[in-house]
């Protein structure tokens, strides 16, 4: 029997610390493990006995790349527990800040973390030596997203202006106008990004994923909608625990999530697109069609195109919100603490993010549970490797290692989130 092991001890161009180990026997991949060794930080433990008002700022610190997602899941879950609904312009502003995070985070991933795999560079800085104009476009597009977060949130990373019930201060209509000028340019760059990524060389592979995402009511989902799947799941966030379970494996400080009695599933851009493509803006829909995406995309390598389409959508949606914005009378609605349980799932750039809280009558957190997108995607990422890597076993070690890394980056794993990254080890015998 020939045994082959391929290891990557420290994966680059992902957020956080992880490693990969692939074991092959007689030319067939037997197992693939994504080892997450990011040290645990125990958020769910120290959230206990904190006030409900503190959860958005505390949970934001789980991830510096998608803090808005953590803040949004936290505020929606708290509002669910406290029996209030934030609507109108405050809801529109929340969509707007989420647009900013999708633009910033997706652009970082598309250009700086993922594209170098397709074009044969070690990273974006090396890519900039040959493609300075493209990297400059990336930085400008990313900056447009960050400008939204900075204006609405006070700063790009760990924004300070989001609170349960709304915001601390809402912008005047005229403050948003300069953003609109930036976003019109950003929309052109985003369209160019879709066309650029559609021209990459993609391995011809497919996977039969169960896609899980929010299904927005007539709008592409950020924070609202039911949790739906491509195999008929249709539940509210409050029912999440009945249908999903997390298990712990020894090789990871991140928990692994499964659909009960069914197994791995996939969240993120491919899932959102599969369940909501009809709700994209006309421009984003046309661009997706021109890029050859179809109504569903089951080749994870092409997720880079879907991310680019979502950036284009986020630019369009942000422009719509700014255009229709009416200043709210008050920056936040009044809230009285009470005992209860609250649930929310929102769409972080890399996938669905679930929060659940139980509150005491004085508003203190009795119990918290957070399921980040990478925990949910980790079993599917391992399945991707198991499914695809057999065909690549004849590649030289370095090429095989790069392919495996790329396969992981297809899903933009955020290891900081999931632990709460990557050594690659490929064992192919011989």
């Amino acid at each position: 029997m020939t045994v082959k092991t391929i290891k990557v001890d420290q994966l680059a161009r992902v957020e956080g610390e992880g490693a990969l180990k692939v074991v092959a026997r007689d030319g067939v991949v037997q197992s693939a493990e994504l080892n997450i060794f990011e040290p645990p930080r125990f958020f769910e433990a120290f959230l206990r006995d904190r006030m409900y008002t503190e959860a958005p700022d505390l949970t934001a610190r789980i991830c510096g790349i998608c803090p808005v997602a953590y803040q949004m899941s936290a505020v929606h879950a708290m509002e669910n527990a406290l029996g209030v609904v934030v609507d109108g312009p405050l809801r529109a502003l929340r969509r707007l800040i989420y647009c900013g995070e999708w633009i910033e985070s997706h652009t970082l991933h598309v250009y700086m973390l993922h594209a170098p795999d397709f074009l044969g560079y070690e990273g974006a800085i090396e890519m900039a030596r040959d493609h300075a104009d493209i990297v400059r476009r990336a930085l400008n597009l990313k900056k447009a997203g960050n400008s939204i977060i900075a204006l609405l949130g006070g700063r790009e990373i760990h924004p300070i202006n989001v609170r349960v019930g709304g915001f601390y201060r809402t912008p005047r209509k005229r403050e948003l106008q300069p953003l609109a000028e930036d976003l019109k340019r950003a929309r052109d760059w985003a369209l160019a990004t879709v066309r650029w990524t559609a021209g990459f060389d993609f391995p011809d592979v497919e996977r039969d994923y169960e896609f899980v995402a929010l299904r927005g009511m007539g709008e592409y989902p950020f924070s609202q909608g039911r949790i739906a799947s491509s195999r008929g799941l249709d539940i509210s966030a409050a029912e999440y625990d009945e249908h999903f379970e997390e298990t712990q494996v020894e090789h990871s400080t991140a928990l692994h999530a499964h659909i009960k009695a069914r197994g791995p599933f996939l969240t993120g851009p491919l899932a959102r697109y599969a369940l909501n493509a009809a709700s994209l803006s006309p421009l984003a829909r046309e661009a997706a069609q021109e890029a050859g995406l179809g109504i569903v995309c089951v080749n994870p390598f092409r997720s880079i195109i879907v991310r680019a389409v979502e950036v284009l959508y986020a630019c369009d949606e942000a422009l719509r919100i700014i255009d229709e914005y009416e200043e709210p009378e008050r920056p936040a609605i009044d809230i009285e603490p009470r005992a209860g349980a609250g649930y929310a799932a929102t769409e972080a750039p890399r996938g669905m993010l679930y929060h659940r809280y139980r509150l005491n009558a004085d508003g203190k957190i009795a119990d918290a549970r957070i399921v980040p997108p990478t925990s949910q995607n980790q079993p599917s990422i391992e399945e991707d490797l198991k499914t695809f890597a057999t065909a690549w076993l004849d590649l030289p070690d370095d090429a095989l290692r790069r392919r495996c890394e790329q396969t992981i980056r297809n899903h933009d794993p955020c290891i900081s989130c999931a632990t709460h990254f990557l050594r690659l080890e490929i064992d192919r015998g011989g």
Partner: protein, 258 residues
């Protein structure tokens, strides 16, 4: 002729990745910085790595595992100039809340098999383990201050990061004092400047994410906060966030933890 550029390394310990992301968030300066230094080790951005020693090491995150406690020693040996970036690296970060609790209980709350989890009982700042040449504050750091630190290093001068309180930044910004003006509790008087007084500019009290200023008088501030209606538990919690293990904040929170 190609001149030798200083070698820059970026290291990660327990953290959210936000502070090293701040380097990639320098959208207007990133390519210029990449022209002045050799990015020798920065895994979030590139898989290409160059062997040490390194001229400038930026360290993000706190020490929470025995492995990391050994790793920082090795990084120090390989680094000519070592700068910590952010609240985790300079004070232990939000994960230092475990320092006030029993970490075994924490692990049992989060994990079904806490025995698989290897972690230290405390989360500690980098300076508790090795000599640190400069500490940059903030949760997260300010990109403007990060560019200042790198520029100062390249010019061979001391970085200009004023140690006064957020109050001074509010005065510079022309903000109405949120505490005096509308009775909003604010940690600005004891908090290190650097953010530009963002929270008060958004009608919110400062929550101390840059950690304590030089010589803060936290007991005096607590007396004022108490007059604004904060009870002992609220006073304990307000100092126990992203810099809970910074000495001045730790002591003040312990005074209200009875």
């Amino acid at each position: 002729m190609d001149r030798a550029r200083p070698k820059l390394a970026v290291w990660k310990f327990a953290s959210c990745d936000g502070c090293q992301l701040s380097l990639l968030d320098c959208e207007d300066e990133l390519l210029a910085i990449a022209g002045e230094v050799e990015i020798a080790y920065f895994l979030e951005a590139t898989r290409a790595t160059v062997e040490g020693p390194y001229d400038l090491s930026l360290v993000e995150g706190s020490v929470t595992t025995a492995h990391d406690a050994a790793r920082i020693q090795d990084i120090r040996k390989q680094s000519r100039f070592l700068v910590t970036i952010g609240a985790c690296a300079t004070s232990g970060g939000v994960q230092a809340l475990r320092n006030f609790a029993d970490v075994r209980e924490y692990a049992a709350i989060v994990y079904a098999r806490p025995d698989y989890i290897q972690t230290l009982a405390t989360s500690t700042a980098i300076a508790e383990h090795v000599k640190v040449d400069f500490e940059l504050r903030g949760c997260p750091i300010s990109t403007r201050q990060l560019v200042e630190v790198i520029s100062a290093f390249l010019a061979g001068r001391k970085p200009q990061t004023p140690p006064h309180s957020v109050c001074v930044e509010c005065k510079i910004a022309g903000n109405l004092c949120v505490m005096v003006g509308h009775g909003t509790p604010c940690l600005g008087p004891v908090t290190h400047a650097g953010c530009g007084a963002i929270c008060p500019s958004y009608n919110r009290g400062c929550y101390g994410c840059y950690g304590p200023m030089e010589t803060p008088n936290a007991p005096s501030l607590s007396a004022w906060l108490s007059k604004l209606g904060m009870d002992e538990d609220a006073l304990k919690r307000v100092y126990r966030t992203f810099n809970a293990n910074a000495e001045a904040f730790r002591k003040e929170s312990e005074r209200h933890d009875r």
